[in-house]
Structure formats: structure tokens, C-alpha cells
Symmetry: C2
Subunit: 200 residues, 2 copies
């Protein structure tokens, strides 16, 4: 398979990329590093990246940002940072990515546990994640050519645990092998329209 991993140099992305690289052709996309550079907030940039690497068998998007802060500190514009990047960036990966996928290909998006079980400072991040869970269910009713769209929703992963554990009291770290497996299930399984939750 030819697999495009947007965010393939990130904490999770690099482990996912390392899994697929031995047996597949993996192209890494990223904002500042990778085989192809792209800006998740800019649909023209996303399309340019896809056009330069397609046709593809799988697109994985493990990228996009949302601002964390106390609700009473978040401005309206702060909320739009998450809407433009992690939400519409990923919606645009589906909107535009379909055209560069071979028949039967897959698109895998990324969210996280906050959609279901938020913590302090995550009104924006939780909202974006929840949006994508419902989006994936809705888009599954309409995508054609056997294309599958899923989303992986992880808990706090082991490799980010020390940095973020204080924000997630009582959460159990997700072993990186389990995090990688959630993406493998999406890409190599046949499920579609699924929210693949791996929360510990």
C-alpha cells in the first residue's frame, strides 16, 4: 500500500509510521518536517500535498490543533483555531482526499478521549473531537468507491504521559503498541464509519 501519514513525525505519528514502513510505501506529511509540507488550516495546502503524493491507498491524519485554556479565558477566536485546524483540517482531508485514493482505500482521522470524557481547559478540544465522531458516522453514509473513513480516539498515550499527566488525573496511559494498533485496525481492517476508541 501507499500510505500518506499527515503528522507522521509527531508523538503518535512516528510510531504509526514506524509500524507501516517495513512493508508499505509511507509518505510523511507535516507542518515543519516530512516528505511533504502542508498547513492543516489551509485547504489549498492540503489539496496540493495530496495531489503531489497521490494516488494513495490510505491516508492517516494525526495532526491538527486546538487551544487548551480555561473556558473563561478562551476567546471566540481561540475556539476558531481548533475549528480551522483540527476540525476543518480533517474534514478537508476527507473532502479532498477521496479524490486521491484508490478504490477501496481508507482515511483515518484522529481525535481523543476528551470527546467522551473531558478534563479542565478542554472545552475547545473536546468540542472538536466530538464533532469529528459525529462527522465520521455521517460521512460513512455517503462515501463511494468502497472508501472507508474511520476515526481513532485515543486516551493519553504513554509517550506523552509525563508531559500531560497532571491534566488527566486518574487516567491510565495508553501503551504505544495499542495506540498503533488502533490505526492498524482502521487501515487493514474492513470497518467503516467507526470511532475506534482506545482509552487505556
Amino acid at each position: 500500500m501507499k500510505i500518506f501519514i499527515i503528522g507522521g513525525h509527531g508523538t503518535i505519528g512516528r510510531k504509526v509510521a514506524a509500524h507501516f514502513q517495513p512493508h508499505h510505501e509511507v509518505v510523511i506529511g507535516g507542518r515543519t518536517q516530512g516528505d511533504v509540507l502542508l498547513d492543516m488550516t489551509d485547504s489549498a495546502s492540503i489539496e496540493q500535498a495530496l495531489a503531489s503524493v497521490g494516488p494513495l491507498d490510505a491516508i492517516l491524519c494525526i495532526a491538527g490543533e486546538a487551544k487548551w485554556d480555561d473556558f473563561d479565558q478562551l476567546s471566540e477566536e481561540d475556539f476558531y483555531l481548533g475549528l480551522r485546524s483540527k476540525l476543518m483540517g480533517q474534514v478537508n482531508v476527507v473532502r479532498l482526499g477521496r479524490k486521491y485514493l484508490n478504490s477501496g482505500g481508507s482515511i483515518t482521522l484522529s481525535t481523543g478521549i476528551l470527546a467522551d470524557d473531558p478534563v479542565l481547559k478542554t472545552t475547545s478540544a473536546a468540542m472538536v473531537n466530538g464533532a469529528l465522531h459525529s462527522f465520521v458516522k455521517a460521512v460513512d453514509l455517503e462515501v463511494e468507491n468502497g472508501i472507508r473513513v474511520n476515526v481513532v480516539s485515543l486516551g493519553l498515550v504513554e509517550d506523552a504521559y509525563e508531559k500531560y499527566r497532571d491534566y488527566f488525573p486518574g487516567h491510565n496511559p495508553v501503551p504505544m503498541a495499542k495506540a498503533v494498533n488502533a490505526y492498524v485496525r482502521s487501515v487493514e481492517g474492513k470497518g467503516r464509519g467507526h470511532v475506534i476508541r482506545q482509552y487505556e
Copy 2:
């Protein structure tokens, strides 16, 4: 109680308003009709409306739009219509509404069954609804002064059934009395951070 119902002249809003009017002071907000006019896509307009009617004991928002169309017909801008109106409009009602609520007051937002069980043409609408479900859970961790925030998620209501039934094959209409009760539960119950689902 003094209750501000944004969208109080709509299909659902008028029944909710009629329920509360005999025993409470109800102020109706709307885009084109009502005691106070406001534009859900404009936070300044929302704040102006709130300032003109506050202090309040309850704010109900049964307003906001998202574009329905086939996924391959929805432009990026079409998605932003829903993000600006039904999503950020309601987030702004919470962000700004808190300041005009008495201690122990409540805010009730509105979504719909599409978040959990979408139908064709609803990639944008489902996404907005799902976003609000997660937002309400996250904001509940942070709101102060005993303020409660809930969201009512209804199925296709009886009064809209004939007009929209073809979009919802096999869905059972929600009797208007049950729809109204979902809002009553939010306003007069003590639950908080709840997604109050009434799907039939």
C-alpha cells in the same frame, strides 16, 4: 423565573415558550421576530440581546442553522455556516450568557439525533451537534455560580414530521409534549452537563 428563549417562535421553541409563559416571565429572542432580535452568527449581537434582557434565571437556545446537502456538494464555506451559527452561536450563548444569569441559573442548548444517528446530507449538521454534546460535558467542569449547562437532543419532532420525514426513513416522530419536557427537565431539574436525548 425570568426565561429568555432564543428561537422561541420556531417549531419547537413556540411550544416550549407556551409551556413556560403561564407561570414565568418569558422573553422571546429571534432573528426576524420576537421581543428581542439577534443574529446567532454574531457574538456582539448575542451579547447585546442578553444585556438588554438580563438578569435571567434561564436561557434556552433553540436556534442556529447548518447547511444540509450531499457531502460532495458541501463546500468548505458551507461547513462554516453551521460552525458560525449553530455551533459557535450556542457556544457564545454560554460564554456570554453566564454573565447575565442569576446564581443557580441554567443554560439549555439544542442539537438533535443526527449527532448519534445521522442521515444522508447531514455531514455538517451531525458534526455541529456532536461538537455541542462534547462541549457541554467539558464546560460543565468549569462553570461557576451554580450555573448548569445542558443540551437537549431531539429526534424529528411531530410538528416537523410531514415536512422532513423523507429525510428520516424509519424514524419515529417525537410528540411535542415529550420535546417540551426535555427542556423542562433541563430548566427545572437539577441535572448539569447532560445531553438530554429524546429520540421518539
